[in-house]
Structures are given as structure tokens and as C-alpha cells.
């Protein structure tokens, strides 16, 4: 199979790389302006110190840490979902995995920067390497986030090699760039075999790393003695929350690019319905964890824990708490369990709700605990400053900009996997199905399919 004859059928996937509309530039300029504003805010903070933020004595971690946990959560969209779908041989994954992996790469880079933005002395960041204490959960976090970033970038890159080879063969201005990145891939059987082996190893490796990352972020809080944080379920709770917001972010990205780049033929309603089901399952799981967490706190009724609990339920953070319950529980579950509303717009609304709700969840996990110290100190209400809001806006626009930049360099939907699906998988899946079913067994066919899988 030569790569020249792959082109025509999936031309629509190449188009974003070669054609750029005017709106694209307008959006880029607008987002770049927001990003530069945020950058200015950070430079201001560098000179002025963290006094430029709204943080104060009991609430000594705020917006940046909330965003950090939130963004790292979103990053689970990619790698984990795509790895699980690949591992379970879900054929409908083919047009989805690439976008999911790109989310991971970009969001992880943004989220990983947040703890550095939050440092009082970013100039001393190298102390972490020089004299880091491995006993501190922050060091675990540093290790796992960098490991995850490395693994997920490789996991994004490796399955992209055949597509880069396609782009290289097409020539154009960036020919040399693609030539270097394509790593001499020509689609020979030996290369193909090596590629598949690499993808298989990576996808198995990346799952425990992804789970560990969010577990460790949860442990930053779970390992402390503070009421509302010191909880054994925090690790799995955060992982579930991360997958939850990850799927929602993935749906939003998919709907957006489907509309902009006319991928309707590739991202069909069925893909969204499957993702919607996945989202519903995780929504219920998240609800279960939340319920378990709050019920045990309430039943135990420890005074320090109860102060935090009441601060969330009826106190100053009640509006955020109940908004979270609406966004993360009522809205998605009502929309996704009803066949009439489980359409693409419906799933999009649910996903936007979940992303907002998960941000609120991170907010109500982090701030109420700090705002209610064990000893009776006078505490004020934390209000973020313009600096913090500016940096949050810049982070969001950096995410969109990153995605837009990616769409101009590489195909957003894996072309070779789509092609492979068309050429091999129909046969392979029917063989596999025949193997599952009782009755007649076509020995030769089953053998062939097993061989194809190995």
C-alpha cells in the first residue's frame, strides 16, 4: 500500500492544514491579546510579589491552585480515554483519539505551569531539583506531572508518525519540518509492526501514569491534616472527577471542530452518543463519590469538619456548591438519560455544564477548608484580583491558541487510522464477532483475525 493513493478519500481532513480562513486570524489576534494581557499580569506579579493576588492569611492557596487541579483534570481527557478505548478495541475511537491526546498535551503544559505561577519565589524553582525532599507530596507531584507530560507527548506523537509521513509526501512549505518529524516512515510492514508495538506498549504504560498523576494531586490535599481535605477517598475521587471533566472537554472540542472544519462525516452522532453514555456513567460515579464523601463527614459530625461542611452547604460558598450540584449532577444526568435530549446539542450543553461544574468542584474543595481554620481566627472572604483573573483568561486562551496552532500543522483526526478502519477493521471485527458467538466456528478466519491482532 503506497501512501500516494491515500489522499483523495480523506481530503477534508487535510484541508485545515492548507486552507486558513480570515476568521481564523481574527480569532488568533483576539486570543493573543487576551494572552498578552495575562502575561502582563504575571510580569506585574513577578515584580510586585504575590501581594498582587487576592490571597490572604488563611486562604493562602486560591485561584492558581484551583486552576492547576482543574487543568490537570481536563488533561485526563486525552491519554486515559484514548488509551482505554484503544485497549478495549472500541472501533468508534478512531476519529476521537487524536483530539483527546492533543487536549492532554496542551492542557498539561498550561496546568503544569500553574504551581510555578503560584510560587512566592519562582526564581528559586531550581531548589526543587537541588535540594528537593522526596517526602513532600509536592515533589511527587513534580515527578508525576513531568512523567505524564513526557509519556502523553510521546503517546500523541507516535501514532501521528504515519500522518506526518503523509504530509511529508505532499511536499509544501513545511516539507523539511515534516521530513524530520516523520522519522523516515514509509509504511513498510516492518515499520508498521514496530509502530503498532510502540503504540501498544505506550497505551498500557500511560494508564497507570495518568491515574497516578491525579491521585498524587489529590494527595497534596489528602496528606494534610486539614478538615475537608484529610480524606482517604480523595485519590480515586479526583481521578473520577478528572475523567469526568476530561470527557466533557473532549466533547466540547469535538463539537467545535466538527462545526468549523466540517468533520460531520467523521464525527457522527453515534460517536457523541457513545461518549454521552460514558459521560453519564462517570457522572453517576462522581455523584457516588461526592455523596460518600459528604455523608461520612456529616454523620461523623466532627466540629472542625462540620464548619467546612456547613460553609459549603449553607455558608458563604453555598451558591458555588449548589451551582456545582446542578452542573455536575442534575444537568448532565437529566440530559444524558433522556433519549430525546441525548443529541449533539444536548450532550454539548451537558458537557459545558460539567466543565463549569468541575471547576467549581475544585474551588469548593480548596477554598472552604483554608477559609475555616481549626482555631478561631477572623477570616475574610477571598476575592480574586484582576491579576489572577487575567492569568486564568490567558491560560484558557493559550489552550484554544494551542489547539488552533496544532490544527494548522497536523490533522486533527488520525488519517491512517481512519483508513485502517475502513480497510481492515470491518473484516477483523466480523471475525472477532464470529469468534465470540456460539455455534459454527470458521477456524481459518479466527486464526487470521488473531494474527492480525497480534
Amino acid at each position: 500500500m503506497s501512501y500516494q493513493d491515500l489522499h483523495d478519500e480523506d481530503e477534508v481532513l487535510f484541508r485545515p492544514i492548507y486552507q486558513t480562513s480570515r476568521t481564523f486570524y481574527v480569532v488568533v489576534i483576539a486570543l493573543a491579546a487576551v494572552f498578552l494581557f495575562g502575561l502582563g499580569c504575571y510580569i506585574h506579579q513577578l515584580f510586585y510579589g504575590l501581594g498582587a493576588t487576592g490571597m490572604d492569611e488563611p486562604v493562602s492557596w486560591a485561584f492558581y491552585i484551583v486552576d492547576f487541579v482543574f487543568f490537570i483534570g481536563i488533561s485526563h481527557a486525552g491519554t486515559l480515554i484514548s488509551a482505554i478505548l484503544r485497549l478495549s478495541k472500541a472501533e468508534w475511537r478512531r476519529p476521537i483519539t487524536r483530539m483527546a491526546e492533543v487536549i492532554t498535551g496542551i492542557v498539561l503544559a498550561i496546568g503544569g505551569l500553574h504551581p510555578i505561577i503560584d510560587l512566592g519565589r519562582p526564581d528559586r524553582i531550581l531548589h526543587l531539583f537541588e535540594r528537593g525532599r522526596l517526602q513532600s507530596p509536592l515533589l511527587w507531584d513534580l515527578t508525576s506531572v513531568t512523567a505524564y507530560f513526557t509519556a502523553s507527548t510521546i503517546y500523541l506523537y507516535v501514532p501521528m508518525i504515519p500522518d506526518i509521513a503523509l504530509l511529508r509526501d505532499r511536499g509544501g512549505k513545511l516539507h523539511n519540518f515534516y521530513r524530520i518529524l516523520a522519522w523516515g516512515y514509509k509504511g513498510t510492514p516492518r515499520q508498521k509492526h514496530a509502530l503498532e508495538r510502540a503504540i501498544n506498549i505506550l497505551m498500557v504504560m500511560v494508564i497507570p501514569i495518568a491515574v497516578s498523576v491525579h491521585t498524587i494531586i489529590a494527595w497534596i490535599f489528602g496528606m494534610t491534616l486539614q478538615p475537608g481535605w484529610h480524606s482517604t477517598i480523595f485519590g480515586p475521587y479526583f481521578v473520577v472527577g478528572a475523567i469526568y471533566s476530561g470527557i466533557a472537554a473532549l466533547v466540547i472540542v469535538m463539537v467545535t471542530f466538527r462545526k468549523i472544519f466540517h468533520f460531520e462525516d467523521y464525527l457522527k452522532e453515534i460517536h457523541f452518543r457513545y461518549l454521552g453514555t460514558l459521560l453519564l456513567v462517570v457522572a453517576l460515579l462522581w455523584t457516588y463519590f461526592t455523596f460518600a464523601e459528604f455523608l461520612t463527614t456529616f454523620y461523623g459530625h466532627e466540629p472542625a469538619e462540620m464548619r467546612v461542611f456547613l460553609y459549603k452547604f449553607i455558608g458563604a460558598y453555598a451558591p458555588f456548591f449548589w451551582a456545582m450540584v446542578f452542573c455536575n449532577f442534575l444537568l448532565p444526568i437529566v440530559i444524558l438519560s433522556n433519549k430525546k435530549t441525548k443529541t449533539i446539542p444536548g450532550i454539548l450543553v451537558a458537557s459545558i455544564g460539567v466543565v463549569i461544574g468541575m471547576w467549581l468542584e475544585r474551588l469548593i474543595i480548596i477554598i472552604p477548608t483554608l477559609a475555616n481554620p481549626r482555631l478561631p481566627y477572623p477570616t475574610g472572604m477571598y476575592v480574586p484580583s484582576i491579576t489572577e483573573l487575567g492569568i486564568a483568561a490567558a491560560a484558557t486562551s493559550a489552550f484554544v491558541l494551542g489547539f488552533m496552532g496544532f490544527s494548522k500543522l497536523f490533522p486533527l483526526i488520525s488519517i491512517w487510522e481512519t483508513k485502517e478502519g475502513r480497510e481492515h477493521s470491518i473484516h477483523e471485527v466480523s471475525m472477532r464477532l464470529r469468534d465470540y458467538l456460539p455455534g459454527q466456528r470458521d477456524e481459518a478466519g479466527v486464526e487470521a483475525s488473531v494474527k492480525a491482532e497480534i
Binding site: L50, E57, G120, L128, R131, L142
Partner: protein, 228 residues
């Protein structure tokens, strides 16, 4: 090696806040602007903590206690510090290394007593303060965490003096500023490992208690309950 500890007698304490002021002067603790103070950024190493109000208005009696760093024997702040900017000395004092602190504020988040304060920014100090600066205590830059160190500079001075005089450190040689200034001698300070020291005797009193002792932090600053 001694193990320094402190007992604060709430029966004697009048909440006059002399210790709060003395601490602030002794350790060059930054004076923040009025706006910042209202936003909860006032910096105190020793702070008056109002626990509850007994009685009905107008005959109220506020129950307050002076709260410095508890100098825990099992400190939760040093456990989480990623760069060893806070550590426990062999004599039990939980000290800070300001040039090493990266300002992540994890120790602040994990201190159950919320004693750590952060230099949100560095502000111009009132001119009148110039004469009161303590040359033995380094001024902290912006972006680092600080807290009570049991006036460690006084220990340094006292042990140097004792070494020059070829003698061992005597019990009265070293006391923190808050102990020295207390007008009613409500604070006793000394070596907890020495069975004859005042502080050990006070700690055996039936009124003795530690703040949030149930957390297992083993505070070395403890209190004698106020009993009418």
C-alpha cells in the same frame, strides 16, 4: 541537648499584648499597610487569639490566649516542605531557612494552628521603626514564609557568650522576647528534658493542656487553663 518548651498560664495572662509587640520588634516582623491588614495580611508571629466570650454583656470576660508557633515535636509543616526550608533542630526548635524557601505555602496550608505568615510583598516601613531594628535578625524578602523561632538569635547569642566564658548554658541565659517582656510572668520557658526546670514543673500541673493535641502534633508550647 536541651529540648526547649514553653508554658503559658492563662490564669495570669491579662491579654495585654505586650508579648505581641515585643515579638514584632525583636524579630523585625514587617508592618503592613492598613489596606493589607484589613485584607488579612497582617503579620504576627505572636498573636492574641480570642477563643470565646464568657458571661453576658456588659459583664463579659473574653477568654483569649497568646498563640505563637507551637514548636511541635511532630511538626506537620516540615513534613510537606519540598525544599527543607523549615526543619527541626536537635534542640526541638522548628526553624526556618529563608533563603531556601520557594514560597509554595504548602506549610501554611498544612499547619493546623495557622501560625505561618507569608510576605505577600515588601512595604516601606514607618520611619520611626528604624531605631528599633534588631540587627541579629535577617529581614525576610518578599515571597517567603516565616514564623516564630523561639527567638533563635537569642539562643545563638547566649550560647556564644557561654562558650566564651567557658561554661555551660544556664537555664536563665536564654529566654525569648515574649517571656522576658511579660509583666505578670505568665510565660515560663526552659528545658523540657530537665526535670527540675520551671517549665517541666508547670507542665505537670493538672491545668496543663496543649492546643489541638488530639492531632498528634505534640506541641511544645502548652497552656495552663484559666480556672476561676
Amino acid at each position: 541537648m536541651p529540648k526547649y518548651g514553653m508554658m503559658i498560664d492563662l490564669n495570669k495572662c491579662t491579654s495585654c499584648q505586650a508579648c505581641v509587640t515585643a515579638c514584632k520588634l525583636e524579630n523585625n516582623v514587617q508592618i503592613v499597610s492598613e489596606d493589607d491588614a484589613q485584607n488579612g495580611r497582617a503579620m504576627f508571629w505572636m498573636k492574641m487569639l480570642t477563643l470565646e466570650f464568657d458571661g453576658d454583656y456588659p459583664n463579659i470576660r473574653p477568654k483569649a490566649l497568646p498563640r505563637n508557633c507551637m514548636q511541635c515535636d511532630e511538626p506537620s509543616c516540615i513534613k510537606v516542605c519540598p525544599v527543607r526550608a523549615t526543619y527541626k533542630r536537635p534542640d526541638g526548635i522548628v526553624a526556618q531557612i529563608y533563603p531556601q524557601c520557594i514560597g509554595c505555602r504548602y506549610c501554611m496550608a498544612n499547619c493546623p494552628y495557622t501560625v505561618k505568615v507569608f510576605n505577600w510583598d515588601r512595604q516601606a516601613q514607618p520611619v520611626q521603626m528604624e531605631k528599633t531594628y534588631d540587627p541579629d535578625v535577617s529581614v525576610r524578602p518578599k515571597g517567603v514564609v516565616e514564623k516564630c523561632t523561639f527567638c533563635i538569635q537569642r539562643l545563638q547569642k547566649a550560647s556564644e557568650k557561654a562558650a566564651v566564658e567557658h561554661r555551660k548554658l544556664e537555664p536563665g541565659d536564654y529566654v525569648p522576647a515574649c517571656v522576658e517582656v511579660c509583666p505578670v510572668d505568665a510565660i515560663t520557658f526552659g528545658d523540657l528534658d530537665d526535670p527540675k526546670s520551671e517549665v517541666t514543673k508547670a507542665s505537670r500541673d493538672y491545668r496543663a493542656f496543649g492546643l489541638l493535641e488530639e492531632l498528634g502534633t505534640v506541641p511544645k508550647v502548652r497552656y495552663l487553663n484559666a480556672i476561676e
